[in-house]
């Protein structure tokens, strides 16, 4: 490596390290604050960076006051059913749009594209009114409701089916398999990576959603992690060790999943950038 190149690469590393620290500091600060006492967290002269004694009081308080097991359960159920619904309906529609030529397909697909371009807030009031009329607020169904089908998923799965080779499908049809069986037994297993990408994408966005859960599930036993955090902020106002402890408890499982399945996460999100 030449001297010039070495200097270049050092500069690049310095830029990347500074930016990495900027990304990490909020998480570190969340972690450090959660182990401080309130007095320590609001001490400025001198300003306290590391807690003098690592105490887990904030965690005990938060765990006593909030039922995190229930919050996890509600969040996981919402994510699980949204994934199942999105994967099943989008695979079916994606296969039909990607591989079959039939009358009305063009128009039907234009509805899918149309939905993708409209800001989702436009649907929220009527969706809420439907849930309310069905007397279903504060249920898992209410949380899953807007995600029963997925226009984005349909678009994604259509791309996945479109690029599959013809011969397998033709062979299966010549063997006398119906279109339905060809889809389930032969074609669907070939879209595994795209299905995983769609699942991860669905999970991340469901986990991050705040407005919809806040609107439909207001009962304290039907909250999800995001809406529970929003609610507790009002109650704990300046008890930052508690707020940070709760934030960390809410974030850690997803972060661990991300660190373990990093490749799939990155691919899952990158596929959302598929070009039209």
């Amino acid at each position: 490596m030449t001297k010039h190149n070495r200097i270049n690469s050092a500069i690049i590393h310095i830029i990347l390290i500074v930016l990495s620290l900027t990304m990490l500091v909020p998480f570190l600060w969340m972690f450090l604050t959660s182990f401080k006492t309130i007095a320590e967290s609001t001490q400025v002269d001198p300003f306290v960076v590391f807690p003098q004694r690592w105490n887990a009081d904030a965690y005990t308080n938060v765990l006593n006051n909030m039922n995190f097991l229930l919050l996890y359960k509600n969040t996981i159920l919402m994510i699980f059913f949204r994934i199942v619904c999105a994967v099943v309906t989008s695979s079916m529609a994606g296969y039909a749009f990607g591989r079959l030529k039939f009358r009305g397909a063009g128009f039907a697909f234009s509805l899918v594209l149309f939905q993708m371009m409209i800001p989702s807030q436009i649907f929220i009031i009527p969706q809420y009114q439907m849930i309310s009329k069905l007397r279903l607020p504060n249920t898992t169904f209410a949380l899953v409701f807007p995600g029963l089908v997925s226009a984005f998923g349909t678009f994604l799965m259509r791309q996945a089916y479109k690029v599959l080779p013809k011969d397998l499908e033709e062979a299966a049809r010549l063997d006398g398999l119906s279109i339905g069986k060809t889809f389930v037994l032969v074609m669907a297993p070939l879209t595994k990576s795209c299905t995983i990408a769609l699942s991860i994408f669905t999970a991340v966005f469901a986990y991050k959603e705040l407005m919809w859960p806040m609107i439909v599930n207001t009962d304290k036993n039907s909250l999800v992690l995001a809406s529970a955090l929003a609610k507790m902020q009002g109650q704990y106002t300046s008890h930052y060790p508690e707020l940070m402890a709760a934030s960390l408890i809410a974030c850690v499982p997803m972060i661990i999943l991300y660190l373990v399945f990093q490749k799939q996460f990155v691919e899952g999100i990158a596929t959302s950038g598929v070009k039209f």
Partner: protein, 297 residues
């Protein structure tokens, strides 16, 4: 004759299966999206009765109110201010990072992991920790730099402070999309340019940007739409008593307040129709403008 019959049955068969397979999605889209959209537009011409019950058709009265409502204009301005800062910074920083990381280097995957981290954290948690970092008395930022900026309660800067959080949250996501776009640029282009003696900046300007301009366009369009819908951060950071609230609340925040706090679905619908129109206009402008700078092969 027989052959034609067979073709006819296959065609009918395909038609049958095609519709069976798309039926759940189509029914879902109609119930969850098409009907709600029509209803929202209809409700924007209605007055909502007490406790959110009943629609009384009142023509364009909501729109008349909207156009003379200073709160709505301020919220529109706030939304634009947020978007105009959040989108360019998060896109440019992400693009530079993607270019820096798109090579064989030590620690590449570690950097990528770190930049992407905010993407998997709940926005509610992100907002809380930033609120704490921004705290004017006890916050890390002010104490580290020995300043006393009122990041989130000074009406002049609060919306930009929130944009900083937005940038921080979105860099990793944009970067991943750019890295995916960069994979498609043939390496020979850079090799040829190196032989011609071009430097890094020239390569970036003459090869990278034009080659991944479709990705840049896609990221810009989607980021602008997302920024126009900013809500979570503002909802979590701005208390009702915050003096900067009126200078930071976005259109979606106002929509939420009217629709789900005051239960005025009529006016809430009118605000969200305004948002839809604004997003449509911006997107159409971008689609026309792309012809000048986006290169598709």
């Amino acid at each position: 004759m027989k052959r034609q019959d067979l073709r006819h049955t296959t065609e009918r068969n395909v038609f049958f299966w095609g519709w069976v397979l798309i039926l759940p999605t189509m029914v879902g889209l109609i119930i969850l999206n098409i009907y709600p959209m029509i209803k929202t537009v209809y409700q924007s011409f209605c007055k909502t009765g007490d406790f959110g019950r009943g629609n009384i058709f009142i023509g364009t009265a909501n729109y008349a109110k909207l156009f003379s409502d200073p709160e709505v204009w301020q919220a529109t301005l706030n939304t634009f201010k947020y978007m105009v800062v959040e989108v360019p910074f998060s896109v440019i920083i992400a693009l530079v990072l993607a270019v820096l990381l798109n090579r064989n280097m030590v620690g590449k995957s570690v950097y990528r992991t770190i930049f992407f981290l905010p993407m998997v954290a709940a926005p509610a948690a992100i907002a809380m920790v930033w609120r704490w970092l921004f705290n004017s008395q006890f916050g890390l930022i002010n104490n580290m730099f020995h300043i006393s900026t009122h990041w989130i309660s000074d009406p002049a800067i609060a919306v930009y402070s929130i944009a900083i959080i937005g940038i921080w949250s979105d860099i990793g996501y944009n970067m991943i999309l750019f890295l995916a776009g960069l994979q498609e640029v043939p390496k020979e282009y850079y090799e040829a340019a190196s032989i011609d003696g071009t430097n890094g900046f020239q390569k970036f300007h003459y090869i990278t940007v034009p080659m991944i301009s479709p990705t840049i366009f896609f990221v810009l369009v989607t980021r602008i739409i997302a920024a126009m819908q900013v809500f979570d951060l503002i909802y979590m950071i701005m208390d009702r008593s915050n003096p900067a609230l009126s200078k930071t609340q976005s259109l979606v925040y106002l929509f939420y307040q009217y629709s789900f706090v005051q239960k005025d679905f009529g006016y809430g619908s009118t605000i969200v129709v305004l948002l839809l129109l604004l997003i449509m206009v911006i997107t159409v402008i971008q689609v026309f403008a792309q012809k000048k700078w986006v290169h598709y092969n």
